[in-house]
Amino acid sequence: MVSILGILTMQTTLSPESGVRPKNTLPEKNTVTLTINGSVHQLELAPWTTLLDALREYLHLTGTKKGCDHGQCGACTVLVDGKRINSCLTLAVMKQDTEILTIEGLAGENGLHPLQTAFIEHDAYQCGYCTPGQICSAVGMINEGHAKTTDDIRELMSGNICRCGAYPHIVDAIEEVMQLDSNA
C-alpha cells in the first residue's frame, strides 16, 4: 500500500504542469441553466462543455449537427438571442441568460417554418447533414436584414458549407422566403 501511495505522490510531483493546473484536474461540474426553444433546462456540466455538446449529448437535441467542431462548416449553427452563431465555438456555461433557438424550435403551432417548407419544395439538400445549420443560418440572415440580392445571400451564407453542393437550391429556397426575384 505504501508503494502505491508513493507512486501516486510521485506522479503528482513530477507532473510537468504541477503548480499551473489546479490539483484536482477534474473541476466540479456546475449547474448551468439554459433556455432552449422556450424551455428552461438545468444541467450539471463541466466548464469545457460546448453549447453544441450540451445540446446533443445532454439534452439529446441532435438536430444541431457536429461537422468540423472548429467553426469552419456551420453545421452547428443555432440562434442565440436571434443571432446565428457556431455552437461548437462557445461554452454552454457562457450562454446562460440567453434565448437559444435550435432547428427543433423553428416549427410553430401552424406547422413548419417557411424556410423549412421552402427547403423541402426546392429540394435544397441531398444528404441533409448541413440542412439544420443552413436553415438556422438563413433565419439569422433574414433577421439581420443585410441581404438584398442573390450575391448578398451567397456571401452572407458562406459560413455554411454543403459538401453535396446543393447551393443553387438553397439560395432558391431562401430567395423565395425573402420574396426576392432571382431574375430581377
Binding site: E17, G19, V20, R21, P22, T25, L26, P27, N30, A46, P47, W48, T50, D69, H70, G71, G74, T77, K83, R84, I85, N86, L89, T90, L91, V93, M94, S137, G140, M141, E144, H146, R154, E155, L156, M157, S158, G159, N160
Partner: protein
C-alpha cells in the same frame, strides 16, 4: 481540450485580479479563436476568465471627434453600425471581408486583435514551431509555406525563425486608420498606437503583441479622420468568401483638386503584423493621382520582400493588389 476552471467576474478589477492570481489563466470573450486552439491543444489555459459581463460593448463619440469602439462589441455590430459605415467605411468593409456571419456575430473587437496565426505548423503539435514552443524551430520555412509572410520575417537563427502572418482583416484597416488601443492593467490605463500593438517576430516570435500580462483591452479609438470618400479594401484569397487573405490591402486617401493630401496603405497576409511603411505613403503626398506613382509606391512598400518557395508569388501579387487598391480608392477604377 484540457480541463480548466471557469470564472465570470462582474467588473474590470475582479477580472484583472482573478487573472493575475491564477497561473495559466486566460481571458475569454467571443472565444472563436481561443476555443478552436484549445480543441487543438495549442492553447491549454488552466482557467478561463469570462469577461462578457463587463460593460465595454458600446460605440461612443470621443472628445477628439472620433469613435471609441468597445472591446466587447461584436465584429458584426461594429461593421454594421451606422457611424462606422458612414464615417469609417474602410473598417466596415474590412471586417465584413473576414470570417463568416456566424463568427462575426460572436467575435469581439478586442478579441480580433489577439487572433493567433493560422500557420499550419503552429496548429500541428507534431512539428516544431517557435511561436508555440519557443526555441523548437520553424516548420514553415522549408515546409509548405504558401500562406506565409514575405515581409519582416525572422529567418536568420533556427531558434527564433518565424514566417507566420497575422490573420486579421479588421486589424489591417485599423492600422491604416491609425487607431489607438486602450488597455487597463493593475498599473492603470494606457494607450498603444496601433502600429506598436502588434510586433514583428524578431528574437521573440512567441510574442504576438506588446501587451503586458494581466492587461485587458477595453476599447479601440478611431481618430476623427475616417477617409469616407476615398478608400478601398481588397482581399485576395483561394475562394470568394470565408477564407483568410493571401494578400489584402487597405487604402485610405484624401484628395483635393486631384492632388493627394494624405495617404495610408496597410497590407494583410504578408507579415506578422499589418504592414505599413510611412516613407512609401509619403511618396504620394502632394502628387497628382497617377498610376505610375502607384506602381512606384507598390515597389517601395514591398521593398525587401522575400519568398520562401510556395509563397514567392505573393511578392508580385502584393504589388499588383496595392496598385489596384490605390486605383479603386482614387476612383480611377470602379469598386466591384
Amino acid at each position: 481540450m484540457t480541463n480548466f476552471s471557469y470564472f465570470r467576474p462582474g467588473d474590470l478589477n475582479s477580472a484583472i485580479g482573478d487573472l493575475i492570481t491564477h497561473e495559466g489563466a486566460k481571458f475569454i470573450a467571443g472565444g472563436t479563436n481561443l476555443l478552436d486552439l484549445m480543441k487543438e491543444n495549442v492553447e491549454r489555459p488552466a482557467r478561463l476568465v469570462d469577461i462578457n459581463q463587463l460593460s465595454f460593448n458600446s460605440i461612443e463619440e470621443t472628445e477628439g471627434g472620433g469613435l471609441r469602439l468597445g472591446a466587447l462589441m461584436t465584429n458584426a455590430d461594429t461593421a454594421y453600425h451606422e457611424n462606422v459605415q458612414n464615417r469609417y467605411p474602410l473598417l466596415s468593409h474590412a471586417i465584413l471581408a473576414g470570417a463568416s456571419a456566424q463568427l462575426r456575430n460572436m467575435a469581439t473587437n478586442g478579441g480580433n486583435l489577439f487572433q493567433r496565426t493560422r500557420c499550419y505548423y503552429f496548429y500541428d503539435l507534431a512539428t516544431p514551431c517557435n511561436k508555440r514552443e519557443p526555441g523548437s524551430g520553424c516548420g514553415a520555412i522549408r515546409g509548405f509555406n504558401r500562406i506565409h509572410a514575405i515581409l519582416g520575417t525572422s529567418d536568420q537563427k533556427p531558434e527564433t525563425a518565424c514566417i507566420a502572418t497575422h490573420p486579421s482583416d479588421m486589424c489591417v484597416a485599423l492600422a491604416a486608420l491609425d487607431a489607438v488601443v486602450r488597455v487597463t492593467g493593475l498599473a492603470g490605463e494606457r494607450t498603444i498606437p496601433f502600429a506598436d500593438f502588434h510586433r514583428l517576430p524578431g528574437d521573440e516570435p512567441w510574442r504576438d503583441n506588446t501587451i503586458n500580462p494581466g492587461e485587458l483591452v477595453t476599447a479601440i479609438d478611431l481618430p476623427a479622420k475616417g477617409f469616407p470618400q476615398y478608400y478601398a479594401y481588397i482581399k485576395l484569397r483561394d475562394r470568394a468568401s470565408y477564407a483568410f487573405a493571401l494578400v489584402s490591402v487597405a487604402v485610405a486617401l484624401e484628395i483635393e483638386n486631384n492632388r493627394i493630401t494624405d495617404a495610408r496603405i496597410a497590407l494583410g497576409g504578408v507579415a506578422h503584423k499589418p504592414w505599413r511603411k510611412p516613407d512609401a505613403e509619403a511618396m504620394l503626398i502632394g502628387q497628382a493621382v497617377s498610376v505610375a506613382d502607384f506602381q512606384s509606391v507598390a515597389e517601395a512598400l514591398t521593398e525587401g520582400a522575400k519568398g520562401y518557395g510556395h509563397n514567392t508569388f505573393k511578392i508580385e501579387l502584393a504589388k499588383r493588389a496595392i496598385v489596384r487598391a490605390l486605383q479603386q480608392a482614387a476612383k480611377l477604377e470602379p469598386t466591384p
